[in-house]
């Protein structure tokens, strides 16, 4: 019996040792695999702190995690509309510009800066862009003529059944994105709350019959050749592209990014839950360092928000071909719309539109 007690005591002391890690910590809420581990280690060394990473897979989960306060986050990286929502609810700390010497408007891509200027007032004071991209149309290149069709008709391929006769079309099973595609086709603002316009969108989506309503599986289906056309986020496209390249098999798909488009960007913010705002500023400043942003982008593979980091990516031998061959840079979009938070009533309406469209 004494033996067992001794073993138990050792185990329990081990437990206490394992759970107690010393030193101040910076709590970061991020997407999974969305930040270079080397950079985080470098930051930890430089500032003598511990970075505790927590991950979420949707903006809504990020929102609940920030609000639940089970972890008091110092830095979070939500997307555009969630930044807006958090801002409206007063959950974001305004940046102290003196602590962010790297945060200058000339630092970011010019196109992105234009979009941010038109975005909700005050966004520049609370959010520092991280990566950005757009929506796109992923299509199967092994189907002869499909490339011409997609490139000449753009968003029409989702709403003109005659054009895509004989092709399998997939639509994003998310109300905001499916509605965005319809609004882009109709030429409306993606943040419209106009009742008549939304009714028109509803009728348009209802008249379509898509082969598949999916989310992450859409890109897999197109890459396998089980689907010909699908709505996709540029980030998702590059994820599957890099995986296919790693496998060294033929790439039988491509993405077309129409000129009038949704533009998304993820941005670093400091939630009001932060217990160590100075350190949070230092972290953001560190990530905004051009060299660090470039290193981060080479590892993640998305388009960095920093102008200089993008230019360095173009010159990077690993990425030159990819950037030339695929729509890597979202800055070519002539008319970009950034999602804003539209409030719960409109979101409810969106859900009804989606349910009707699928039914």
């Amino acid at each position: 019996m004494k033996k067992y007690v001794a073993v138990l005591l050792i185990l329990i002391s081990g437990l206490f040792l394992s759970a107690c890690q010393r030193g101040p910590a910076l709590y970061v809420l991020n997407w999974s695999e969305y930040m270079s581990d080397d950079l985080i280690a470098q930051f930890e060394d430089e500032f003598g702190v511990r970075v505790v990473l927590e991950t979420a897979d949707t903006n809504e989960i990020m929102y609940t995690k920030i609000k639940a306060k089970t972890t008091k986050f110092d830095v979070a990286i939500p997307s555009d509309y969630m930044v807006h929502k958090l801002y409206q609810e007063g959950l974001l700390v305004e940046f102290d510009r003196e602590l962010l010497p790297n945060y200058q408007s000339s630092l970011f891509d010019d196109q992105l800066e234009t979009l941010r200027a038109d975005y909700f007032e005050g966004n520049i004071a609370v959010a520092a862009p991280y990566f950005w991209g757009s929506l796109g149309i992923m299509y199967n290149t092994s189907k002869v003529g499909l490339q011409d069709l997609v490139e000449s008709h753009g968003w029409d391929v989702f709403f003109d059944a005659e054009l895509t006769q004989g092709y399998k079309v997939g639509m994003y099973n998310s109300s905001r994105d499916a509605i965005a595609a319809a609004e882009l086709y109709l030429g409306y603002d993606l943040n419209t709350t106009d009742d008549a316009k939304l009714t028109e969108v509803q009728n348009l989506l209802k008249d379509q019959s898509y082969h598949t309503w999916g989310t992450d599986n859409l890109k897999t289906m197109v890459s396998e050749g089980n689907l010909d056309i699908a709505l996709i986020y540029s980030g998702d496209f590059f994820d599957i592209l890099y995986a296919t390249m790693e496998d060294n098999i033929d790439i039988t798909y491509d993405m077309f990014v129409p000129d009038i488009n949704n533009v998304w960007f993820d941005a670093m913010v400091i939630p009001t839950t932060s217990q160590n705002q100075e350190l949070a500023h230092q972290f953001i400043n560190f990530m905004l360092d051009p060299d660090n942003a470039y290193q981060n982008a080479t590892e993640i593979g998305y388009c960095p928000a920093l102008k200089s980091a993008y230019q360095a990516m173009v010159a990077d031998p690993d990425y030159t071909d990819i950037i030339a061959d695929y729509p890597y840079y979202p800055g070519t979009i002539s008319q970009g719309y950034v999602y804003r938070d539209l409030g719960p009533t409109i979101y409810q309406r969106f859900e009804i539109i989606l349910v009707n469209a699928k039914g």
Binding site: A19, Y27, E33, T55, D57, T70, D239, T244
Partner: protein
């Protein structure tokens, strides 16, 4: 003079028997297929030399190596395993004493105690998770500045949902043993603690082990309650898997498959060894 009388079944009955036997085997095959097919797929993916996992591109063990290079994954596995061990140990100790206590209550009180014990078992995980979270939120409001959520809050929650299962598996064993056993031990000169240690606990050992196994399996694969009660970067494996936005990033899918295969094979080995030892022991006795 025993004469074997052969009774030949009527033809119709024989056909019926044949049909029922075919049905039995098809059903059995179907169930085995449903249970083991996903495991086979996961095992195949874990040795598939492909980043997309869309087709089988050759055998490899590199994911098993890469698994150990992914810090986030390794940390989550470490948390999962240590949490399962501690939750099992503590809930087994608590559950053993609780069930001995419940067993010695009067019949009416015992029924009430068992009912109370069953509530967390029957409760939906999400309800348990949310109310534990709210309770801990309350603690963090009462004592400002304390970091409630993390390893210990999750461990507490795991003990909370494991203990009732341990109690449930020990109580029937206690009912089986003679109610005078404890008194007999005292009469023969045992002190009460000794009687408990030397007589009662050994005679309910099977129940304790079964309860511990249930607690371990409950803890190692829990997601919902852990998700609600954890925080500050403490993730167990299922939470890590759930937070993967994209299975193609850094081969998350393959690494998860490798871990799952290790767990499945490990469980299988434990079962085989356990049964082997049991069979040998039985042989030795007879």
């Amino acid at each position: 003079m025993n004469q074997v009388i052969r009774v030949s079944l009527p033809r119709r009955m024989r056909i019926r028997q044949k049909i029922s036997s075919t049905f039995k085997w098809t059903f059995f095959g179907f169930v085995v297929f449903l249970v083991y097919f996903p495991l086979i797929i996961i095992t195949l993916q874990s040795v598939n030399d492909s980043a997309t996992g869309q087709s089988f591109m050759g055998f490899t063990l590199k994911w098993y190596v890469k698994m150990f290079e992914n810090d986030q994954l390794m940390q989550s596995i470490y948390i999962t395993v240590t949490m399962a061990i501690f939750a099992t140990l503590i809930s087994v100790i608590l559950g053993t004493f609780a069930s001995i206590g419940i067993h010695s209550l009067s019949s009416k009180q015992r029924k009430r105690a068992i009912l109370l014990n069953n509530v967390p078992v029957l409760n939906a995980d999400i309800v348990t998770g949310v109310f534990l979270m709210l309770m801990m939120q309350g603690v963090s409001l009462l004592i400002p500045g304390i970091q409630v959520f993390g390893y210990f809050s999750m461990l507490f929650a795991h003990i909370f949902f494991c203990t009732p299962y341990v109690v449930l598996s020990i109580l029937p064993k206690l009912n089986e043993i003679d109610s005078n056993l404890f008194d007999a031990a005292l009469d023969l000169g045992c002190r009460p603690q000794e009687a408990l240690k030397k007589v009662i606990i050994p005679s309910i050992k099977a129940g304790i082990i079964a309860g511990g196994l249930i607690a371990f399996t409950m803890s190692i694969d829990d997601f919902v309650i852990s998700y609600m009660t954890s925080g500050n970067g403490v993730l167990n494996f299922s939470m890590w898997l759930y937070s993967i936005k994209n299975p193609f990033r850094n081969n998350a899918m393959q690494l998860a498959s490798a871990y799952n295969t290790i767990i499945s094979v490990g469980t299988l080995l434990v079962l085989i060894i356990y049964n082997f030892l049991k069979a040998r022991k039985k042989k030795g006795v007879s």
